[in-house]
């Protein structure tokens, strides 16, 4: 049986785009799960309608499995769900007015649900996280050092990491390589060579740009709601 996952992020309160994606998923073959990798909220618009819909999916619609993203982290921090901290990074980088806009964009009745969301999912040998295993705001792109990418995979002992924070769509596969490690201690000297196993980092996009992952064939499809497939590269689509 075909098993495919749909991966969405960065909707930032855009119910219209979410409905468009849902309607496309109904027509797509074999999509069995919908993962929403955070940033359901943002300061640009009121997010209550989308949050209501995510918590109360319609019949015959894929039930979204949500985790929190960077914007949720800012809201929860500002609202006192992260100890004594406040959303200082957001305040410093984007100003007090953006903090206020974020607070106004989400009705406090949604906070309990948002606070209940997990940092990420581990499905099969895949990690599904807004940023990375290091941080919800980790900005992984195709330009990020492969050494850092390998570290993020190693921290969770996974073979594929689906990330969203950069908003980019990309599939970067680690195809090989190695490193020599020589350890000297009081018992003598030991040499070891470590190889790079085949692992991937997949940027799933944001907003209308979303990704379908074919679990059986390990192929990734980059799509835009209302548009064409963004990539059908060899070995990836």
């Amino acid at each position: 049986m075909i098993e495919r996952w749909a991966l969405v992020s960065g909707l930032k309160g855009d119910l219209e785009t979410y409905e468009l994606i849902q309607s496309e998923l109904k027509k797509a073959r074999g999509v069995t799960a919908l993962f929403v990798l955070g940033d359901m909220i943002g300061p640009e618009r009121n997010c209550d309608a989308l949050l209501n819909r995510l918590q109360n999916p319609r019949r015959k619609e894929l039930e979204p499995q949500c985790i929190y993203g960077w914007w949720e982290e800012q809201l929860l921090t500002e609202q006192g769900f992260r100890g004594e901290q406040k959303a200082d990074t957001l305040r410093l980088n984007q100003g007090e007015e953006v903090v206020s806009a974020l607070l106004n964009a989400v009705d406090p009745s949604h906070l309990k649900w948002l606070a209940s969301l997990q940092f990420g999912f581990i499905e099969l040998d895949c990690g599904l996280i807004h940023g990375s295993s290091a941080d919800v705001g980790d900005n992984l792109t195709s330009e990020t050092s492969p050494l850092i990418l390998l570290d993020r995979l190693t921290r969770l002992a996974i073979n594929r990491l689906f990330t969203a924070h950069s908003t980019k769509q990309f599939h970067l596969e680690l195809t090989g390589g190695g490193i020599d490690s020589q350890v000297k201690d009081l018992n003598g000297q030991h040499q070891h060579q470590q190889k790079v196993s085949k692992q991937s980092i997949i940027g799933i996009g944001a907003g209308a740009s979303y990704t379908i992952y074919d679990v059986g064939s390990d192929k990734t499809h980059f799509l835009t709601a209302g548009g064409q497939s963004n990539s059908k590269g060899k070995g990836f689509a």
């Binding site: 921290r155 350890v183 990836f236």
Partner: protein, 271 residues
């Protein structure tokens, strides 16, 4: 020039005196300490006083941080509830014993010290609580050094001294994104980097009861791991006299700390 690096003194005065004596005999005056001056051991004030007297450049360890900040580390730092309970007992005892001057001194310590391309930290550049064990994934270990912008990283925390060279590294990648329809292949060569763990002066866990430290020659790059015997009985008796858990004396006299080795050494406490 040669300099000595010590770590994890853990309020063990006899061990510290023996190590400093050994360093003096080697004609070395430049000493760097990687933290954990206190915790577990029975002479926190005496050890901090001696470090201050000798003007030893130090960074802050996880125990030093916890004494100042309160217990920040979550239960993930301990492999069992029993070990956690003993750790909390030692924490409370140490916090009671330390003078305000010595607490202020620990609070003033930096989390890292940089000398050109050499970085000194307690655990890792990420956290005072992260263990860089000698068998840690080599790429992840290299990432810690590289991200910190260092050629050589000195650390402690594991209580196991070692020198690890990471070299001849490369990673091949294949990239597909929305702007290129053909996959792009490339190979990245990784730089050679070194991690030096100074072991522990006050609570060795390398299989022997001797204190350990390292001597680094910054001209040749050579690192010598040193083992120093000290009067363990003196410290064990002081542990018992202070009313600290007797197991702290037992493990010092056996050179192994079976009870306190974390199951997931790579875990970083986020609290």
């Amino acid at each position: 020039m040669k300099h000595a690096v010590i770590s994890c003194l853990h309020a063990n005065l006899a061990a510290l005196k023996a190590v400093l004596n050994d360093i003096d005999q080697n004609g070395i005056s430049d000493i760097t300490c990687l933290g954990d001056l206190v915790g577990y051991g029975p002479q926190p004030n005496e050890v901090v006083d001696l470090v201050r007297e000798r003007a030893i450049t130090s960074c802050q360890g996880c125990w030093d941080e916890d004494i100042i900040e309160g217990l920040n580390a979550c239960e993930c730092s301990y492999p069992s509830q029993l070990a956690e309970k003993r750790g909390h007992l030692a924490h409370e005892w140490t916090a009671e014993q330390l003078t305000d001057i010595n607490k202020d001194f620990l609070a003033s310590l930096p989390t890292s010290i940089r000398r050109d391309r050499i970085l000194f930290v307690h655990g890792s550049p990420n956290s005072q609580h992260e263990y860089l064990l000698p068998d840690m994934n080599a790429f992840a270990a290299l990432e810690r050094v590289e991200k910190a912008g260092a050629d050589t990283l000195f650390c402690g925390h594991t209580h196991q001294p070692y020198v690890r060279e990471l070299k001849n590294g490369s990673i091949r990648v294949r990239l597909q994104n929305t702007s290129n329809h053909n996959a792009e292949d490339k190979e990245i060569n990784l730089p050679m980097r070194k991690i030096v763990n100074a072991g522990s002066v006050g609570e060795p866990r390398h299989g022997s009861t001797n204190a350990t430290y390292v001597i680094h020659d910054d001209v040749t790059g050579e690192v010598e791991i040193k083992e120093v015997a000290y009067d363990i009985g003196l410290t064990c008796q002081a542990i018992i006299d202070a009313g600290l858990p007797r197991i702290f004396a037992w493990r010092l006299s056996h050179g192994f700390e079976f009870a306190e080795q974390a199951e997931d050494a790579s875990h970083v406490c986020e609290r």
